[in-house]
Amino acid sequence: MSGVALIHDVLDAQLVDRRQRKIGRADSIALALSDNAPPRVAAILVGGPVRAQRIGRWAVLLSHALRAVGRVRHNGVTRIPFGAVRRIAEAIEVDMDGDGLEVKHVEDWLAEHVICRIPGAGDERDGEERK
């Protein structure tokens, strides 16, 4: 996997976990700088606050407001070490299990408290997937 174009192929790309489930997009990439050594691609950052900083002030304010309303404790940023990247194709495959990730917090909360309350919603755990 040499010769990867970070901006074109990785930044803002779709991320999928070990089981090909979507876990968000590469909202930012952290580069570790050190003297007389090439910049190291440290991690992929995922989360609303990261996106908000890139978009602008209004997005940052909105993001804080949403987090306050949601009373979310965690700072909402998931840091995926770049070493966990397995494949860069139509999506970036990361050797992790998406379930525990902070970035899935809203998805899991909605699934449990809202969606699954409605009949025909299926089972958020590992029930059959397709309609």
């Binding site: 040499s2 952290a30 900083q53």
Partner: protein, 101 residues
């Protein structure tokens, strides 16, 4: 100055100036490769692609316009130059400078 971390998007489209302060273009891409060593492998930035937009350089502020100009290619006067990581001084990520000899 070691151990600092910078976000990639802060480098996207940044103007790079040489030792004399002249702009040599904007950062358009970072090419990274694998570096193997004893405790595993690292992904490191090997080179920077710096693009210049010729006469239309004044317009090259926005990402959409830069991408449109790059699509037009030579017609728009777009030229891309490769800069090895050793030559790129990211001390101040907002003002990348070329390490001139």
């Amino acid at each position: 100055m070691s151990g600092r971390e910078v976000r990639l998007e802060r480098l996207v489209g940044r103007r790079v100036r040489d030792a004399g302060g002249r702009s040599i273009g904007r950062i358009e891409e970072l090419i990274c490769g694998i570096e193997l060593h004893e405790h595993g492998r690292d992904y490191v930035v090997r080179e920077f692609r710096v693009g210049t937009f010729g006469r239309l350089d004044a317009l090259s502020g926005s990402k959409l316009v830069r991408e449109l100009l790059k699509t037009l290619g030579r017609v728009s006067g777009y030229r891309e130059r490769r800069v090895g990581w050793q030559l790129m001084d990211l001390g101040d990520p907002v003002h990348p400078r070329l390490r001139g000899d």
